[in-house]
């Protein structure tokens, strides 16, 4: 039972969950980002255990790398010494706790002793190539649609973040 894989999984899962909990509970934004990095990296580790190396690498590159750096930039460029203050009441916390526990129990009942018949597959062989092939043939329509999605996100970010020309003119006058 206590195989190396099991121990590795437990360690990674624990780090991922602790990172998530810390992200919510810490008060300084920089600390939150560091907690987030721990979660991202341990999820990448879980992907390695599942022998999905490509996704693990992508997870590190995009999430731990790009997204974290962008968040850091965002924090640096705005009020980075801001701390959040909890304002929720006691009853609300209690209800939330009950809700979370209830959901946890419901899911635990479902996955405890769950038996999914496993079939031998070749998904781990050359998985980067396999992902590439299915992405560019089988799933070409959603793939292309994703590019539209990214375009929308890009335009939206520019529209919402750009300073108006009127503002700039006013700033120059002052």
């Amino acid at each position: 039972m206590l195989t190396g894989e099991f121990i590795a999984f437990m360690a990674l899962a624990l780090v991922a969950i602790i990172g998530g909990v810390l992200l919510i509970n810490l008060t300084k934004v920089i600390h939150m980002v560091v907690a987030l990095v721990f979660t991202f990296v341990s999820i990448a580790g879980i992907f390695v255990i599942l022998s999905a190396e490509f996704i693990a690498a992508v997870q590190i590159l995009i999430y731990s790398g790009a997204i974290t750096i962008i968040m850091l930039f965002g924090i640096m460029l705005t009020r980075h010494d801001d701390t959040s203050e909890p304002i929720t009441g006691k009853w609300r916390k209690l209800f939330l706790l009950l809700g979370v526990l209830g959901f946890g129990v419901a899911v635990y009942i479902g996955i405890y002793n769950l038996d999914i018949p496993q079939a031998a597959n070749t998904l781990h062989v050359d998985n980067t190539e396999q992902i590439g092939i299915s992405l560019y043939s089988h799933f070409i329509i959603p793939f292309e649609l994703t590019s539209v999605l990214l375009l929308v996100a890009l335009i939206g970010a520019i529209v919402l973040a750009k300073k108006d020309e009127d503002d700039e003119k006013e700033a120059e006058k002052e």
Partner: protein
């Protein structure tokens, strides 16, 4: 897969989507290279023409056989055609409103973006209606959501608009996460994202543990998607977002986005959960979907009660319409809950009627609120003296929303009633709640009515009508009355062309 196989698919069946995508791209490029002085409204008209072209393309495809491209990642079946018609018509009318939209603080700079974000949102909604694969469905959902988040925050200098966009994005993110979590369970149990294969695999499921997980997945997917249709338990974003967003965006959210939400909900629930057999108390196993009827009924009832009762207290017209749209989502959920033979007819017709009556009301709302900048219900006072035609138009829409005979809204509600009563056992409680809540809704609808017809106007200035709003009001009023008196026009069209969606899972 080589190029030959790829080209052998009937890409022509995607023509409406290609047109919308092409027009959206063209608009973004034009917006970039056009001189700054040129009025961006021309882009709006181009977009409108594009949507009309897409409607024409879709109508020419109506007789076309069920087509599937690339393992159902795109499929054109009766279901897709019927609902894409509603989505396109709604988006065309919304775009007319957007062309005439003139907020107080002005929006000269981002008018171009305003138009093509509507188009990308429409593209997402269309993909949601014509796909048989979880991945495409999800990407379509996200494309629609992301475009709507940005659209809601388009009035950058308006604090309410900023707040609404922020609330929308956070709520939307949470709901997407919940939906995705539910989908991941279904994928985990079946090992495929194709809805048809899923339904085949799930038909043979016997392990009660698996069924339990599927039940869990059902709730997660339903709750996540209830965000899109603004029904309980994910309805609380609606009033704030509707109030803060620019009026055409509010109209878009309440009609096109809601329709798209129902489309993906129907597709997922019927394709995945209707095929899971559950051994119950009786001898025969029932589909999981039918086992869930009581919970769905509870949520539908709660949605109707919350929407209608809180609407009673609203003074802000946009908030009032937000709660009213929550209530209407509840009515449509009643049709979904009962799962009668007329479920598709009832939902399709109700969404069609809702499209016209709600968009018409929003057109008049936009005209009146943009003139004064206030959204108080008192702005409607004396509308009959100021603009009799508009007041009569608004009267028609309100009567239809309330469900008075002679309007499309009445027929829509009647279809839902019939569907709920024809089932064995009939859903008397649900029908009872629906009738009581309809009566409750009379209070606030007719409050608006008395303001328009019986209160003296605060200022007597004439309202200046713009061509876009006039067109929307005329089309919507005509359609509302027409489908109210001759509903068979729409229903016959539906029955003749879509075969009762018999090709849903073929």
């Amino acid at each position: 897969m080589d190029l030959e196989t790829l080209l052998s698919y009937e890409w022509g069946t995607m023509a409406p989507e290609f047109i919308i995508l092409g027009v959206a791209t063209a608009l973004s490029l034009l917006d970039l290279f056009m001189p700054k002085k040129v009025d961006r409204r021309i882009l709006g008209w181009l977009g409108f023409t594009g949507i009309l072209a897409a409607i024409v393309a879709l109508v020419s495809l109506i007789g076309h056989d069920t087509t599937s491209i690339l393992f159902d990642t795109f499929r054109l079946d009766g279901f897709a055609k019927a609902f894409k018609l509603i989505l396109l018509a709604g988006a065309a009318l919304v775009l007319l409103l957007a062309i005439d939209y003139e907020p107080k603080e002005g929006m000269k700079e981002y008018r171009g973006e305003f138009f093509y974000l509507f188009l990308t949102a429409l593209l997402g909604a269309m993909m949601m209606s014509s796909s048989g694969d979880l991945i495409t469905l999800f990407i379509g959902l996200e494309l629609l959501s992301l475009s709507s988040y940005i659209l809601a925050g388009m009035r950058k200098k308006n604090l309410q608009s900023n707040e609404s966009a922020m609330k929308y994005v956070i709520n939307g993110g949470i709901s997407t996460a919940i939906t995705l979590f539910g989908m991941s369970y279904v994928y985990g149990l079946t090992g495929t994202t194709n809805l048809k294969e899923m339904s085949l695999i799930l038909g043979n499921i016997a392990d009660p543990q698996h069924v339990y997980i599927l039940g869990l997945a059902f709730f997660l997917i339903f709750i996540g998607l209830s965000f899109k249709i603004a029904s309980a338990p994910f309805h609380m974003w609606a009033p704030d977002v509707y109030e803060g967003a620019p009026t055409p965006v509010t109209a878009f959210l309440s009609v096109v986005s809601k329709t798209a939400g129902f489309v993906i909900l129907l597709r997922l629930l019927l394709a995945i959960f209707a095929s899971v057999p559950v051994q119950g108390d009786g001898a025969e196993p029932l589909p999981l979907l039918l086992r869930m009827q009581d919970y769905l009924a509870f949520l539908a009832g709660a949605t109707m009660i919350i929407g209608n009762v809180i609407a009673l207290r609203q003074r802000n017209v946009k908030r009032l319409f937000a709660y009213s749209s929550i209530a209407h989502a509840g009515y449509i959920l009643v049709a979904l809950t009962t799962m009668s033979y007329f479920m598709f007819d009832a939902i399709w017709f109700y969404l069609l009627a809702y499209l016209f009556m709600n968009l018409g009301a929003f057109a008049i709302l936009q005209l009146i609120t943009s003139k004064t900048g206030s959204e108080d219900i008192g702005q409607f006072a004396g509308l009959y003296q100021r603009a009799p035609v508009l007041a009569v138009g608004m009267g028609i829409f309100i009567l239809s929303l309330a469900g008075i005979p002679g309007t499309a809204g009445f027929i829509g509600k009647l279809n839902i009633f019939m569907g709920a009563l024809i089932r064995e056992p009939a859903h008397f409680v649900l029908v009872g709640i629906m009738i009581v809540m309809t009566v409750v809704s009379y209070v606030y609808y007719f409050g608006l009515f008395t303001q328009m017809f019986f209160r003296p106007a605060a200022d007597d200035s004439k309202l200046k009508l713009s061509p876009g709003i006039t067109t929307v009001v005329v089309i919507c009023a005509a359609a509302t009355v027409l489908f109210g008196i001759m509903p068979n026009l729409a229903l016959d069209f539906f029955h003749q062309n879509f075969n009762g969606f018999s090709d849903f899972l073929q």
